[in-house]
Symmetry: C2
Subunit: 295 residues, 2 copies
């Protein structure tokens, strides 16, 4: 990772953190406990890969800062809500997330349910407020809703749950991940770019190919890390997918072929954004980050 990219990343992560702190209701606002739990779920979290994708794609077309920051926060709020619900006992039943107790452990199940629900609403609120062209923003709302819903992220979760203990083949596994994590990663890339301009068919195809490659790479690397890293490094329970008898790329292809696949997808992502030239350097760096991360 270049020093310039590292500095950019740290700046954007901080910018996103500050914006979320400002956009989420203060903990002095009624109901205080819900607002405290929403911040617990959304703040100080993870690598902010989705916001980084928004910023990097926005850089392609010099998107205005306010729209970009709102799009970045919106995708992160959707991601945060999905983690809260995903960790609940009726779903993955996980007690640890980003090295901290999950929301239903720290608070309670009912609060976790409401935190997720409220964070989703907050995402659409954040995206629909602020400056910017109404036509563009409305299509961004539409895109985020599609990517989050039953033919996007939620649909992927449903397929994931239904597939526990089943012998999915590679095509089925890919289809599940394309919805479960891929849809929101794609939305992040497209929302960033759409903040800058109305995309033509060629741009949309290039960004779709990039998003498909890093979306899949993200999951392959997740599976590799789940099989090789420890819980302390991951900040969540390691080896959980295997223990839950969930199909993974490692169980399907083996460790070595999974690593090769991730590297291939990294190259695919680079190729996809060739058309944007130098302006796409941040997207290339992010593809490297997704594949080469250690947690």
């Amino acid at each position: 990772m270049s020093q310039a990219f590292h500095t950019w990343m740290k700046n954007k992560q901080l910018e996103c953190e500050i914006a979320l702190a400002n956009l989420l209701p203060q903990i002095t606002v009624l109901p205080e406990r819900l607002h405290e739990a929403m911040r617990y779920a959304a703040m100080d979290g993870g690598k902010r890969v989705r916001p980084l994708l928004v910023f990097a794609a926005g850089h392609l077309f010099n998107a205005p800062a306010d729209m970009l920051l709102r799009a970045a926060c919106a995708v992160e709020l959707i991601h945060a809500y999905s983690l809260v619900h995903d960790d609940m006992p009726c779903m993955d039943d996980d007690a640890l997330r980003r090295g901290k107790p999950t929301v239903h452990i720290k608070y309670d199940e009912a609060t976790a349910l409401l935190v997720g629900d409220a964070l989703q609403a907050q995402a659409f609120q954040v995206l629909s407020e602020g400056d910017g062209d109404a036509v563009a923003k409305l299509s961004m709302v539409r895109l985020l809703a599609q990517a989050s819903g039953s033919v996007g992220m939620c649909g992927g979760q449903a397929i994931d749950l239904a597939s526990v203990g089943l012998a999915l083949d590679r095509i089925q596994l890919e289809q599940m991940h394309r919805l479960k994590t891929g849809a929101l990663l794609r939305a992040s890339v497209l929302l960033g770019a759409m903040s800058g301009k109305k995309l033509d068919e060629k741009e949309l195809q290039a960004l779709d190919a990039y998003a498909a490659a890093i979306g899949l790479a993200f999951q392959v690397v997740d599976d590799v890390l789940d099989a090789t890293a420890d819980s302390a490094t991951l900040g969540k329970t390691a080896g959980k997918d295997a223990a839950d008898n969930k199909p993974t790329y490692v169980s399907l292809l083996g460790l070595s072929a999974s690593k090769q696949l991730a590297e291939q997808l990294r190259c695919d992502a680079h190729d996809a954004v060739e058309v944007f030239g130098n302006q796409a350097q941040l997207l290339r760096d992010l593809a490297d980050l997704v594949v080469q991360r250690q947690a």
Copy 2:
């Protein structure tokens, strides 16, 4: 209830049912079980009070049909999602809704969680698609998000949960209901009106007063029915609030004073929309419906 109003109501309920059937993903679309469960939760349900409010308020300003229908479906999808999550074991733990098994009973808890999440996303998708002025639609998205989130419906749920077993006074009880059910009823009225025109301060105030009155009336009547009707009539478990030791208007004011309050609020609602003259007849009829309903 006049015959004309009854006919209007039946027509609008049917229109809403057909629109929901068209807007929700077909059950042949992957993931099939999730889409089946979403339809189970959202279709063939209740009196559609919120859509009726949208249509009645839209009638004030001759709002275009497509925008109005989308707004009606959006509020109903939010309402449907909130019922699914509210019925879950970690919330109210209810097995019966509209005379049928609740979603987590009919399917399972994980599916109920995802159905609610996906219906919420669907609401924002429905509202952001279709014809109509983008500026107006974007402010409608914003309003619906605020009304659904942590300072609206979700916030009301959180206060409700926190108040079980507590001796709330009348002001606290009102505050809770203003968020829990009032926020979405208010949004229904405003979204209907906003589909027709950008509201001026005077119109907004009148509609706010109307919405506040029927929102509160709705809850008072709910409490009266919960204390007096049987489960078969209600289509849900009767006497549950008292059994759960939840504060209600009946426990606070007694049955007779609660009925008087509902009647007073009905008159307040009528007074509030006086300014709109004959065009507000549907809103007046709806206020009567809310107060005089038997289930």
